[in-house]
C-alpha cells in the first residue's frame, strides 16, 4: 500500500467510527420517541401516513401479531413489484418501450428486492422501465431496509422489557425508520451523487454520433435517487447492470468513497443505537468491536491477495484502482449490501475467498441494515449459552435467562441459510441445468455456484457474475434461497423476542458472565468463525483454496 492508499483506508475507518455514535444516538432518540433533529419537521408527514394507512401506531403487538404484520406487508410488496414488472410494457414512464419482464425473472427479482437481497439476473438499462425502477425497486429498497430495522427494534425490546408480552408496533417502526432515517440520508446522498455526475432524469436514452463516426446509445434514468438508498439500505441492486462500476452510477472517487461509506454507515451505527436502547453503551461498542475486528481481518487478507496477483485490473475501473476495489468488495460482502464497483468473478482467489467468507459467516460482520445486528444477536445467544456450559451456570443475557427454546430458535436462524447454501449448491453441481450456467472451468466454476447460493441465501446479492443466472433453475432456486435466508431468520428472531419479553430481569451477580468486555468479544468472534468454518471449510477447499494453489503453479483452465 502506498501512503495515499493508507490515508484513504484510515479516512474511511475514522469517519465510520466517528459517525457511529452520532447517527446511532439520533436513531435511538427516534425509536424511543424522544425529540430528535428531524422529528419535529416530519411529524405531520408521519401522522398523515398513519391516517392514510388506517393504522394506530400506539397499539402494542405481541410477537405473533408483529410477525404477521411484517409478513403481510412483505407479501403485498412482493406481489406489487411482481405485477409492476409483468405489466411494465403497457404502463407509462417506459421511454425505451421495454416489454414486460418474463415471469421467472420477474418473480426472482421481486423476491430479491423484498428480501433486501437485490440479486440481479438482469441488466436494468436493458430490462426495466423507469416506472418499474422508481415505483417498484426504489420503494422496496426503502421498505426492505426499514423491515430489517423493525425486526431489530422488536428484538431489542424483547430483550430489555421487564416482564411484558409485547414488542412494539410494526407499522410505527417501519414508518419511522423510513421517514426519519432512510429518506433524509438518501436525499442528501442522492444530490451529492448528481452533482458528481450520477444521472437523474426521466428523459429517454440519447443516440449520439461518436468522434469516429459510430453511434452510441447513452442510457439514462432516475438513477441517483435509487443509488443513494441502495447503498444506505444495504440493498445493493444496481440501476445499471454493472452496478457501481458503471460511470453513471459511480462517476468519481468521491462518489465511490461516499457510496462505500454508506454501505456500513447504518449497520455500524445501529450497534450504538442498540447499546443506548439496552441501557449500556458498552454493550453496543463490544458488538461494534467484534464486527470491526472481523472486517479488518478480511480486508487485510483480501488486499494482500489482490495486490500480489498479476492481471489484477481485470474487472476494475481506473478511477478506483486496487485498494478502493478491495475495500468495497470487503464492505459490500461484510454488510449484506451486494453492490459492486469491480467484478468479483475476476478477483484473485484470496480476495474472492474473503468475499465468499463474509457472506458465509451469515452476514453478521456489520451485515444488513438491522439484519446484521439481529443475526449477530443470534450468535451472541449461542455464545452466552456456550460460556454457560463451560462454567456450569444457566446462561443469561442482559439479566434474562437464555433457555432451550431460545437456543433452539437461534440455531434455526443460524443454520437455515447454511443448509440452504450447501444443499442448493450441491443440487446445482449435480444437475445439467445447474452446471450449464458455469462460465469459468476448473475450481473457479464451483466457486461461481457456491457464490450464487451464498449470496442469495444470506441476502447479499453480489455475484460471480459470469454465472448465467437468468435461467429457470437459478431464478426459482435462488428465489427460494432468498426467502429462506430472510424469513427463516426473521421469524425465529421475533419468536425469541416474544419469549424473552416475558422473562424477569435479574440483577447481575458475581457469577454473571459480562457481555460487554474483551473476553466476550473474543468468544463471540470464535463462535462466529467456528460455525462458519465447521460448515464450509470442505467446500471452500475445493473452490477458492484449490484455485489459489493451482494458480501458484501456473495452472489455467
Amino acid at each position: 500500500m502506498t501512503t495515499l492508499d493508507t490515508v484513504q483506508v484510515l479516512l474511511y475507518l475514522g469517519l465510520l467510527i466517528a459517525c457511529t455514535p452520532w447517527l446511532g444516538g439520533y436513531m435511538a432518540r427516534v425509536f424511543t420517541g424522544e425529540r430528535a433533529g428531524l422529528t419535529g419537521w416530519l411529524a405531520p408527514v408521519e401522522r398523515c401516513i398513519y391516517r392514510l394507512a388506517g393504522c394506530d401506531p400506539q397499539v402494542e403487538m405481541r410477537w405473533t401479531t408483529y410477525a404477521g404484520a411484517l409478513l403481510a406487508f412483505n407479501l403485498f410488496g412482493l406481489l406489487a413489484l411482481l405485477g409492476l414488472q409483468l405489466l411494465q410494457g403497457v404502463l407509462p414512464l417506459n421511454p425505451q418501450h421495454l416489454p414486460g419482464v418474463p415471469f421467472g425473472l420477474a418473480l426472482n427479482t421481486a423476491i430479491s428486492f423484498t428480501t433486501n437481497t437485490n440479486w440481479q439476473a438482469y441488466s436494468g438499462e436493458a430490462t426495466l422501465s423507469y416506472l418499474t425502477q422508481m415505483l417498484g425497486l426504489t420503494v422496496q429498497n426503502f421498505v426492505s431496509a426499514a423491515t430489517g430495522i423493525a425486526v431489530l427494534l422488536a428484538l431489542t425490546r424483547g430483550l430489555t422489557r421487564r416482564s411484558g408480552t409485547t414488542l412494539g408496533n410494526f407499522w410505527a417502526d417501519l414508518v419511522r425508520a423510513t421517514l426519519y432515517i432512510l429518506l433524509p440520508l438518501s436525499s442528501g446522498l442522492a444530490l451529492v451523487l448528481v452533482a458528481q455526475g450520477v444521472v437523474q432524469t426521466l428523459a429517454p436514452y440519447i443516440m449520439v454520433h461518436t468522434v469516429e463516426g459510430g453511434q452510441q446509445l447513452i442510457p439514462l434514468g432516475p438513477a441517483a435517487s435509487q443509488v443513494a438508498i441502495k447503498q444506505l439500505g444495504t440493498n445493493g441492486g444496481g440501476f445499471f447492470g454493472v452496478n457501481s462500476a458503471h460511470p453513471f452510477e459511480n462517476p468519481t472517487p468521491l462518489t465511490n468513497f461516499l457510496e462505500m461509506f454508506a454501505i456500513l454507515l447504518i449497520p455500524a451505527a445501529l450497534t450504538y443505537t442498540y447499546g443506548r436502547m439496552v441501557g449500556s453503551r458498552r454493550q453496543g461498542w463490544a458488538i461494534f468491536a467484534a464486527m470491526l475486528i472481523l472486517f479488518l481481518s478480511g480486508f487485510a487478507v483480501a488486499l494482500t491477495a489482490e495486490t500480489g496477483h498479476t492481471g489484477n485490473m481485470e474487472g476494475k475501473e481506473t478511477r478506483f484502482g486496487i485498494v478502493n476495489s478491495v475495500l468495497w468488495a470487503t464492505a459490500t460482502t461484510a454488510a449484506s449490501n451486494g453492490s459492486v464497483n469491480a467484478m468479483h468473478d475476476s478477483l484473485s482467489p484470496g480476495a474472492g475467498l474473503v468475499a465468499l467468507g463474509n457472506m458465509l459467516l451469515g452476514e453478521v460482520v456489520f451485515g444488513g441494515v438491522g439484519a446484521g445486528l439481529y443475526g449477530m444477536l443470534m450468535f451472541m445467544l449461542l455464545t452466552v449459552f456456550m460460556a454457560g456450559l463451560m462454567v456450569g451456570r444457566t446462561p443469561e443475557y442482559l439479566g434474562k435467562k437464555v433457555e432451550a427454546r431460545e437456543v433452539t430458535l437461534a440455531m434455526v436462524a443460524v443454520l437455515a441459510p447454511c443448509a440452504t447454501v450447501l444443499v442448493f449448491a450441491a443440487l446445482a453441481v449435480l444437475t445439467p441445468a445447474g452446471l450449464a450456467s458455469i462460465s469459468n472451468p476448473g475450481p473457479h466454476g464451483l466457486s461461481q455456484v457456491l457464490y450464487a447460493f451464498a449470496s442469495t441465501a444470506n441476502n447479499n446479492g453480489s455475484a460471480f457474475a459470469g454465472l448465467n443466472a437468468n435461467t429457470g433453475f437459478y431464478n426459482y432456486l435462488g428465489g427460494i434461497a432468498m426467502l429462506i435466508g430472510r424469513f427463516a431468520a426473521i421469524v425465529p428472531a421475533l419468536a425469541i423476542a416474544g419469549s424473552m419479553a416475558g422473562k424477569k430481569t435479574a440483577p447481575p451477580s458475581p457469577g454473571t458472565f459480562p457481555t460487554d468486555g474483551a473476553l466476550f468479544v473474543v468468544l463471540l468472534i470464535g463462535v462466529v468463525l467456528l460455525v462458519g468454518a465447521l460448515t464450509f471449510l470442505p467446500v471452500l477447499t475445493l473452490g477458492p483454496v484449490l484455485e489459489h494453489l493451482l494458480l501458484q503453479q501456473g495452472r489455467v483452465f
Partner: protein, 190 residues
C-alpha cells in the same frame, strides 16, 4: 386478520407514493434545476452536436487517437459488461498476451517492454472512460507519428497529456487518470 391485511395494503400504497414517486421526482426536479448537465449524462459537445458522454468510454479504433481500455462487451452500452473471467482462466491469459503484443506492435515497442495493466485488462463497466497516465504516455509516440506531428506540436501534445491528467480527487481519493474522450477531442483541436 382484517386488522393486519388492510393496514398492510394501505401502508404499502402510502409508502409507495412517498418513496417511489415523491422522493425520486423531487430529486429529479432539484437535479434539473441545480445540476442540469450532470443529471442529463454529462454530454460533451463538439461543433454543435453531442459526441458522447464525458463519463462513458467510446470506441476509438484509429491509431490517430488515444485508445481506451479494452471493453469485454466491445463498448456496448445497453447493457454494458465485463469479462467476468476468473484468475485461472486460460482465455483471460491469452487475451492479455494478445493485447500486450498488439499494443507493442501498434506503438513500435520492443517485445519485452512492459505494458500498463489497465491496457491489458478489460474494465469492470466495459465503459471505463479513463486510462492511467502511463498508458497515455505509452500511446503518445504512436499518435504523434500517425498524425505526422512536428516536434513543436509533439511537445504541445505532451503538455496536453500532462494538463489533462487528473490527480487523485482532493489530493487523496482514487487514482490519477486521463479521460480518453476529452484528450482525443483536445487532440483534434491541437
Amino acid at each position: 386478520m382484517k386488522d393486519t391485511i388492510l393496514p398492510a395494503l394501505r401502508l404499502l400504497a402510502a409508502l409507495t407514493v412517498l418513496t417511489g414517486a415523491v422522493y425520486p421526482l423531487l430529486i429529479t426536479a432539484v437535479a434539473r434545476a441545480v445540476f442540469p448537465r450532470q443529471a442529463a449524462g454529462s454530454l460533451v459537445q463538439n461543433e454543435g452536436s453531442s459526441v458522447g458522454s464525458e463519463l462513458l468510454a467510446q470506441k476509438f479504433g484509429s491509431p490517430r487517437y488515444f485508445q481506451p481500455r479494452p471493453s469485454a462487451a466491445d463498448f456496448a452500452t445497453v447493457p454494458s459488461g465485463a469479462s467476468n473471467l476468473g484468475p485461472t482462466s486460460a482465455v483471460l491469459r491469452t487475451t492479455a498476451q494478445d493485447r500486450a503484443a498488439a499494443v507493442r506492435a501498434a506503438c513500435g515497442l520492443a517485445g519485452d517492454t512492459p505494458v500498463p495493466g489497465d491496457l491489458l485488462c478489460a474494465s469492470g463497466s466495459g465503459l471505463d472512460p479513463h486510462i492511467s497516465p502511463e498508458s497515455a504516455r505509452l500511446q503518445l509516440d504512436r499518435v504523434a507519428r500517425t498524425r505526422g506531428l512536428t516536434p513543436e506540436h509533439r511537445a504541445r501534445l505532451e503538455s496536453l497529456v500532462t494538463a489533462l491528467t487528473e490527480p487523485p480527487q482532493f489530493g487523496v481519493l482514487g487514482e490519477p487518470r486521463v479521460n480518453v474522450l476529452c484528450l482525443n477531442l483536445a487532440l483534434d483541436r491541437l
